[in-house]
Symmetry: C2
Subunit: 344 residues, 2 copies
């Protein structure tokens, strides 16, 4: 079964180069012909740069926009004055069923609030969450929420578990992904009341239900890969993942400095540059980072604001896989099973 | 001015080798003669292993204990059955003014609760916080709270700012260390109510007061080194710093794998091994990680449970520097200035 899906791409409002976006879309198209793209951006620029991607030319529709949402724009201002912006129009296309998902590289807060307002949440899901795929010692895990909803509430933690499990089961092709709840220790008495309550509910739901709740995990367990899904609130998730990104950059910077410190290590750096590049590709957020806004009636995905073409292509393939495997049906199934379980 | 300080060392209940502890203490003693140590552990083992550290032998008092607190022991059990444990006796020594500070490698939760119960908080400080010194692009910063107190409350965030500023001013030898409040964005409207309230109070306190409040910082700003002090609650701090530690390990593990992948990179790895070691030393928690429990009448410091001798020596030097510069007087001055400011 292969379906053709149309993706709305917001081309403006970030440091990501038009050429990187087009090259990334083209790469995905070379692997899989079932994409169509609506490109929201400057028609003149896109037409000039798309020339070298012959196959892509026939798979796109260009919607000329010159207005865009800046990183500083606030949601309230956007509703007043940015209704013709590339992001707003890209989201509108999804709500009008003219496309299946939206991809942006711009202002995350604006993408979240405009998507919530226009695309709206799935039945049974009160608040959306941003999920990301994070590398670990064993492969990858899904971590959420990374900042869609900063309120700590057991209900949201349970919802996030369902959203994360749906995502992980499709992307990692496993039936019952294990779910860990991020906490300051693994013992039952650790953490805040909201987390203990969520843990109790998840245990209840795991009992004779498809949900595979592992228990508490700690910050370092994300990298260990102890569970397929790591669930937290948007405040903790946002800060801890940004801290981790900063640490990876710091590590890389220290390493580069150290390599410059002697002739032998300079030569070592040269000889090992390919190895370094492979690490960079695996851990660099410009290549490997997209935030998937889940729990809405359609997917909205935010890529890093300085994405390289590989990052664009990576995000497009993830979106296709989620659409092809009907992630929202999976979420709805989980929600209805959850309700029947909690009623019994 | 040089004072002689006595440090109680809990030798048991962790994976840190007795020899690493003794070697670390000896290293510090070689640099600075003004230490005395009370060693709480197996007299037989210590006496055997201390043989090769001639200078250290004369600077220690050994208090023979065979009971110790395990990583699994709960505070309530400890009060019942572990009053003869090495950690309990080491803390008791501080409360009886027989030593000036306590150093442990064992159960963090037990160290926190026993210290809080016995050593008690400084006047004007409601809850202690665990601070750590974290490397960044520009040098180092103080980050706190890393898990002493998981409750998010503006009062605690302001207290943590004072504790962090006192620590940073001594360790980094600067008069007015800048303080950043960890949040999910830098705009005024970002984050939770408790954080906004703390930010308002810190602004108020920075106005004509020694406190140097910078404003909000994000997770990645810790590694950038945007401020000398980064303040957060113990829940967020614990999770984000453990996430960062995990990321550093992941980075290192990926790098080692990548280096094994070809002959040229194997040779590169060999040539650059010194550079790698320097990075490891700078970022490895076994060398560079101690949690300083601040806000109590005496310092209690928790080192990584698998510390190497360098980590032990590093912690001892930090404790000496804080005692020599009377960190608790600095905190009391901040507290009294804060009260006079808030009353005006």
């Amino acid at each position: 079964m292969t379906n053709r899906f149309t993706l709305s791409v917001d081309m403006l409002g970030s440091e990501t180069e038009t050429n990187d976006i087009l090259k990334g879309l083209n790469q995905s198209l070379l692997r899989n012909l079932n994409y169509k793209f609506q490109l929201y951006g400057s028609e003149k620029v896109i037409k000039k740069k798309i020339e070298k991607y012959k196959r892509l030319i026939n798979a796109v529709e260009i919607i000329d926009c010159d207005s865009f949402i800046t990183m500083e724009d606030k949601p309230s201002d956007i509703l007043k004055s940015k209704k013709n912006s590339s992001m707003y129009l890209a989201i509108k296309s999804v709500t009008e069923n003219k496309s299946n998902a939206v991809l942006s590289f711009g202002n995350t807060g604006a993408l979240m609030s405009l998507s919530l307002l226009n695309i709206k949440t799935l039945k049974g899901i009160k608040r959306p969450a941003i999920a990301s795929i994070w590398p670990n010692m064993k492969g990858e895990s899904v971590v959420l929420d990374l900042g869609a909803n900063t309120k700590l509430d057991s209900r949201y933690l349970v919802e996030n578990s369902i959203l994360g499990a749906s995502l992980a089961s499709i992307l990692f092709k496993i039936d019952n992904p294990s779910i860990g709840l991020l906490n300051v220790g693994i013992e039952d008495n650790k953490g805040k009341e909201e987390i203990k309550l969520a843990s109790d509910q998840l245990k209840e739901l795991s009992n004779n239900f498809r949900l595979n709740y592992y228990g508490y995990v700690e910050g370092n367990d994300i990298s260990v890969g102890k569970t397929n899904v790591v669930v937290t609130d948007g405040f903790t998730g946002n800060i801890s993942l940004k801290t981790a990104e900063g640490t990876a950059k710091l590590f890389q910077s220290h390493l580069e400095d150290a390599f410059k410190s002697s002739i032998s290590s300079k030569m070592g750096y040269f000889l090992s540059s390919l190895a370094m590049k492979s690490v960079r590709d695996r851990l660099d957020p410009r290549v490997h980072n997209c935030g998937i806004l889940m729990g809405l009636n359609s997917l909205a995905v935010k890529c890093h604001g300085q994405s390289e073409y590989k990052g664009v292509s990576y995000a497009v393939d993830i979106i296709y896989s989620l659409l092809e495997n009907n992630v929202n049906k999976k979420i709805r199934d989980y929600v209805s099973e959850m309700h029947s379980k909690l009623m019994n």
